[in-house]
Subunit: 351 residues, 2 copies
């Protein structure tokens, strides 16, 4: 399995190291080998090449079976113009691979429920999958830019746009995901105000006819931001556009109390997907051996499950990650224990 | 003081009744008279005139000193095309009065802190003022609508646009509000992706130079959705655009645990402002005497403070509302007790 690894910036390299060790240990266990190639992205790539996504990196990603990305960005590059910032590399990678479906699970593990700023009884048992459209909407809509309006005043503008096929393909991914879960899909939009949302709602409703076993509902985005806090257990699978998904999935991540635990997958119709933690590059703690590698390990597990079709390797990695979750342990101790456990399991052929 | 009252739909009329009684009682106390005129808006107006905002209503609002609005909308009108829906009336009213500055306080009252789905220690002491731009951005940006893209596929699109003067005026309102509070303003945008946000950030920063006593920070909207849950006490005053404000203020309202307590004000440069509860029309409980009138009473108080320059009347109404907040009382009992208290205060001339 050819995996392109993009350690990126900040804590990226250190969490990548741990995740790769776990991946290789779990793989060996099932006779699976990974051909790992590291490449530059984000700030690290800007420093080396002047570009947040060098062509060589994109070419390597395209030629591989999956992309494992750690984190990008940092204060250092914050004053650059936006297209040449680390984030620009991330957006270019997503579109370059056409990774239109972003899957962001927000699962509250019983061991960690007390870490949430919400009450245990509100979040215990929460298991939400947010399916976010990732290569369309206002992030990429044309026209965009700066100009003068009819009064001669400078304006900035962006276009939130979706076409029927764009909505159809993400709707299919979401209905398929819901089908494998509790068979309930909530589509989030702002159809009481926006035409783009009216088209979204119309198309999702139509696609829903092909999934009579999945119960479809619609919710306005402001209400969804409320209901995620009021009664998060009501949600099973959620599908929404790029910017609403950006906001809601970050909000939902806080239900779990531990951003350091959340992986995500960004998947194209075919070709390699991108697997990455939800958290950022945390430049303030980089290099101090303080970063929690869990989300990165779980991202590698998601890669095995959704990107490489190695569900058993994924199972092992997730089980091992959960074993590491005893309370009061620091992220570092957790990582070490987990590694030792895996090495042990492999050495003794227990798994 | 000429007040146009728009009871609207659902629970609107019943909470209006209570709020007006409280308003008049508190007014008498200070020798202030209100000339109240009721008009139709929303679904009620659609049923009577076919229009969610009849011209007569808008004209009456324009000719008054302030507008007190209860709630609009209901299942009944949900299948109408969007411009002729109750919400269309609300949007037309906002633009018709040019009420560009929407102030949404999210204050956690100690008496109610346990009602939040967040932990008491996280929300106790929260006191946030969200200043949302209300008549621009993607809600009103042109072009908007439906068309076919270059591949001939049907698309829906909206434009998120802000001009310098639009950002300047809302920034001034926000800096002024922050100055009267804890002197910290957080501007929320998505400047790492959107040009419209880059203009927003640039202008807010420039306006900030005129307020050296106010500490300005910037935050991406996804991060703001997270930080509101992680550490809401960090926020003092927040300023943001129309759709981000819609989402974040609804999210913030859940910190308080009681949507039924939250008022809002929508204020123009000059002319009458609109004062309304944050909650909706709750058609499911309408007419059953179950609705909590508190947010409506507090909206009327906000009207006295910000719209009619009657701070003492506002003080009385807010104090009375707080008196009504003993635990375990049903909304109805609270309303009644409050009324009786006020009548008593007035009758005995205690206040
Ligand atoms: C870094 C940024 C461009 C990105 C986004 O907005 O998509 C991030 O917030 C995310 O959610 O992956
Ligand atoms: C009803 C709707 C159009 C409105 C809005 O989105 O502005 C509401 O959600 C609000 O926040 O007042």
């Amino acid at each position: 399995h050819k995996v392109t690894v993009l350690p990126g910036d900040g804590i990226g390299p250190e969490i990548t190291k741990v995740a790769l060790q776990v991946l290789e240990a779990a793989g060996k266990n099932h006779g699976e080998d990974f051909k790992i190639q590291e490449h530059l992205v984000g700030g690290a790539a800007i420093d080396a090449t002047g570009q947040p996504l060098p062509e060589e990196t994109l070419a390597a990603c395209r030629a591989s079976d999956a992309v494992l990305l750690a984190a990008i960005g940092g204060y250092k590059w914050d004053s650059l113009p936006s297209a040449s910032r680390p984030e620009g590399g991330l957006l270019a990678l997503r579109t370059g691979l056409n990774a239109f479906a972003n899957l962001r699970p927000a699962v509250v593990l019983p061991q960690l429920a007390d870490g949430s700023s919400l009450k245990r009884e509100v979040v215990e048992g929460v298991d939400i999958m947010i399916v976010r459209e990732l290569v369309g909407g206002i992030y990429f809509g044309q026209p965009r830019g700066f100009s003068a309006n009819e009064h001669g005043h400078k304006t900035g503008y962006n276009t939130m746009v979706y076409s029927e096929p764009e909505v159809e393909r993400i709707a299919h991914v979401a209905f398929d995901a819901a089908r494998k879960r509790r068979k309930r899909l909530c589509s989030v939009d702002k159809a009481n105000v926006l035409e783009v949302s009216q088209l979204w709602r119309e198309v999702v409703t139509r696609v829903g006819k092909e999934y009579p076993d999945v119960e479809l509902s619609h919710m306005y985005v402001d209400n969804a931001a409320m209901q995620l806090l009021r009664n998060p257990k009501e949600f099973d699978t959620v599908v929404t556009g790029n910017i609403f998904g950006d906001i809601l999935s970050d909000e939902a991540s806080m239900l779990t109390g531990s951003l350091g635990m959340l992986p995500s997958a960004s998947i194209p119709s075919d070709g390699p997907g991108i697997f990455e933690p939800v958290h950022g590059s945390a430049p303030d703690i980089a290099g101090q051996d303080l970063a929690n590698p869990m989300a990165m390990i779980l991202s590698a597990a998601m890669m095995c499950r959704y990107g490489l079709n190695l569900p058993q390797v994924a199972d092992d990695m997730e089980a091992a990650a959960l074993l590491g979750l005893l309370p009061k342990w620091t992220p570092r101790i957790r990582g070490l224990v987990l590694l030792n456990l895996l090495v042990l399991l492999v050495a003794t052929n227990w798994v």
